[in-house]
């Protein structure tokens, strides 16, 4: 039964990637209905113009807005843009400022904790579900539903659970363990791990879904071959299955990493960057400069550095993707 479902999944995926073409959709003779040639040319020109405009907007949005913000980062803009060039002034000041250094330190701790946590839990769950278990659909739904929520909701609810006065600490003490402590949220050294917990809760199901899709795309023969080898199951998954779906593993890591770098609302809802600046991330610094302190130039510089740190990840990944594709092409 499970095998039948699997095949069904495959056809559904095929259906998604290969549109079904019904013969009746070809417009035979519809052109005759358009009588006048000039009208046809006019609508044709206008519709292409419209499509060109939409396309140009999408391109300008990426290139133009990036260039605009970069330009502002080299100016002394405060509440309003002011286009006098001041060079790398804001960059130098930011790099030397404590809040900026703390924010990037936090990003490293949070990023590593979040990516390793979400990927490891995601892989574990994907492997367990891959072992042909019952109630697979129900479990998958439960593991993945946090992805449908906003970070604001996640942050709000975890703020209650991790708040020692009202959350888990108080609850466990009420059960009798009166010395139980779980106050990471208000501890300067541990608050960032509280953010990790909430973020892992939100995104690990998503890692599970992607990795499971990868495992399911593997040929059944690979399982048999692994068994003939006499490898233990844990070893089998680590040494054979995971390398076989390596491109997906890399995709998952990159997606998680860019979620980590972009994280903003979760921190605002969960800790508001505190205690002090213990959980402030680079994204919060950007917003703080731009809209709290009214230093648009410095905020823009912080945003550009955020983009640069993202590029540090995306560029190698893009090259890797290219390499993979070329390899695949050669094999075909």
């Amino acid at each position: 039964m499970s095998t039948a479902k699997r095949t069904n999944d495959v056809t559904q995926v095929l259906h998604l990637t290969q549109p079904y073409i019904s013969p009746s959709t070809t417009p035979s003779g519809s052109a005759r209905r358009i009588s006048r040639r000039w009208r046809f040319t006019l609508t044709e020109g206008l519709s292409r113009l419209l499509a060109g405009l939409v396309l140009a907007t999408a391109v300008f949005y990426v290139v133009g807005f990036t260039a605009w913000t970069t330009w502002i980062s080299f100016t002394d803009s405060t509440l309003l843009p002011d286009y006098t060039f001041v060079g790398f002034k804001h960059y130098a000041r930011l790099l030397g400022s404590r809040v900026f250094q703390v924010a990037y330190g936090n990003l490293v701790i949070y990023g590593v904790g979040f990516i390793v946590g979400a990927a490891a839990i995601g892989l574990l769950l994907a492997v367990l579900i891959d072992l042909k278990i019952r109630a697979e659909n129900a479990l998958r739904t439960i593991y993945l539903y946090p992805m449908a929520l906003s970070f604001v909701v996640t942050g709000t609810v975890w703020a209650w659970l991790l708040n020692p006065d009202i959350g888990i600490e108080n609850f466990v003490r009420g059960l009798g363990w009166v010395n139980f402590r779980f106050d990471w949220l208000i501890d300067t050294d541990f608050a960032i791990y509280a953010v990790v917990i909430a973020a892992v809760w939100q995104a690990s199901g998503f890692a599970m879904a992607l990795l499971l899709a990868g495992l399911r795309s593997l040929d059944g023969d690979i399982y048999k071959a692994a068994q003939i080898d006499g490898a233990s199951p844990a070893r089998m998954y680590l040494k054979i299955m995971v390398p076989a779906i390596w491109p997906i593993v890399v995709s998952v890591l990159v997606i998680l990493l860019q979620i980590a770098i972009k994280t903003y609302d979760l921190v605002r809802a969960l800790t508001a960057g505190g205690p002090g600046i213990a959980t402030t991330l680079p994204t919060n610094v950007v917003y703080d400069y731009m809209f709290q302190r009214g230093e648009m130039g410095a905020g823009a510089a912080a945003a550009v550095m955020l983009l640069l740190s993202l590029l540090l990840v995306i560029l190698p990944y893009a090259l890797f993707q290219r390499f993979q594709k070329r390899k695949q092409y050669r094999h075909d």
Binding site: T17, V59, L128, Y143, Y145, I255, L307
Partner: protein, 292 residues
């Protein structure tokens, strides 16, 4: 594909099935606890919660938290509950989802079936927009919206989300339309069909599978979006995520966890429903963007 017999020794070696299910259930509990906490608290009174903790069962089935959260609770000075903000979000999400999907489909159509010199570079640039952090766009948007007279308005946020969405919708649709045979377009052109005619009569009828994915993706993303919402709107114009934040940041009065729980649930309901009803497509959207 994997036959059950081949897996049998494997299962045995991994320990009993019970251990596997126990582990799966522990994780199920981890994912479900926050949701259960919110649901249960939405029926508990202020005293019940503050006397113990947010983890507990309600003593009676009270609905006044829901009534207050929906219509009368004060958020940032306005005592209208969460209702007007839900309405704002709806007014933003519906047009923005439909327009960004339509324009994305059109972009995908041009970039896959009307290729021109440089179209792959243009596609690359648009795809890069998927990774571009929102912080890079806040200042230009602030200036553009001000100059267009759209600051602090629902239409302004619709515009932001339509254009912001183009990167994803173009990516999804372009990759999907790559599999439409070029010959179909050639045949239609010979028959005298124009650019838009081919789009409406041939391409869109082939598109429902990808459009469902795109619409669910956009709906969830826009409904849950916070940063643009908080930056480009104030007071009564705010979307529901921004209102939720204002509600929990309310330091003037004691925290009403029960009312907040009801508000959180109301705000999360649309995307949760979309996920439960269209979950299959939701997963497909997640994987389509990534595994490719």
């Amino acid at each position: 594909m994997i036959d059950a017999r081949a897996l049998a020794p494997l299962r045995a070696a991994l320990g009993s099935r019970i251990a596997i299910y126990a582990l799966l259930l522990v994780f199920a509990l981890f994912y479900l606890t926050p949701m259960m906490v919110v649901v249960l608290n939405s029926f508990r009174s202020f005293e019940e919660i503050t006397r113990s903790s947010v983890l507990g069962f309600p003593t009676a089935l009270r609905t006044d938290n829901w009534v207050q959260a929906w219509g009368t609770y004060c958020i940032a000075g306005a005592c209208s509950g969460i209702k007007p903000y839900m309405w704002n979000s709806l007014m933003i999400v519906v047009p923005a989802t439909l327009l960004s999907t339509l324009f994305g489909a059109m972009n995908g159509y041009v970039l896959s079936l009307w290729r021109f010199r440089g179209s792959n570079i243009i596609f690359g640039v648009i795809t890069f927009g998927v990774f571009l952090p929102a912080q890079m766009k806040l200042v230009p948007w602030a200036i553009v919206l001000r100059d267009m007279g759209l600051s602090n308005s629902i239409s302004g946020l619709v515009l932001v989300h339509v254009i912001q969405g183009l990167a994803f919708t173009t990516l999804f649709c372009r990759n999907y339309y790559l599999n439409v045979p070029q010959d179909l377009i050639k045949a239609a052109k010979i028959d005298g069909a124009g650019f838009l005619q081919i789009f409406w009569r041939i391409i869109l009828p082939l598109s429902p599978p990808i459009l469902i994915v795109t619409i669910i993706w956009q709906f969830t993303g826009i409904w849950n979006e916070f940063l643009y919402g908080i930056t480009f709107s104030e007071g009564s114009q705010r979307p529901v995520t921004a209102a939720l934040m204002a509600l929990s940041a309310n330091i003037a009065q004691a925290r009403e966890y029960g009312i907040e729980s009801a508000a959180v649930l109301i705000a999360a309901l649309p995307t949760l429903l979309v996920y439960l009803l269209g979950g299959k497509y939701f997963v497909r959207g997640l994987t389509a963007g990534a595994v490719k």
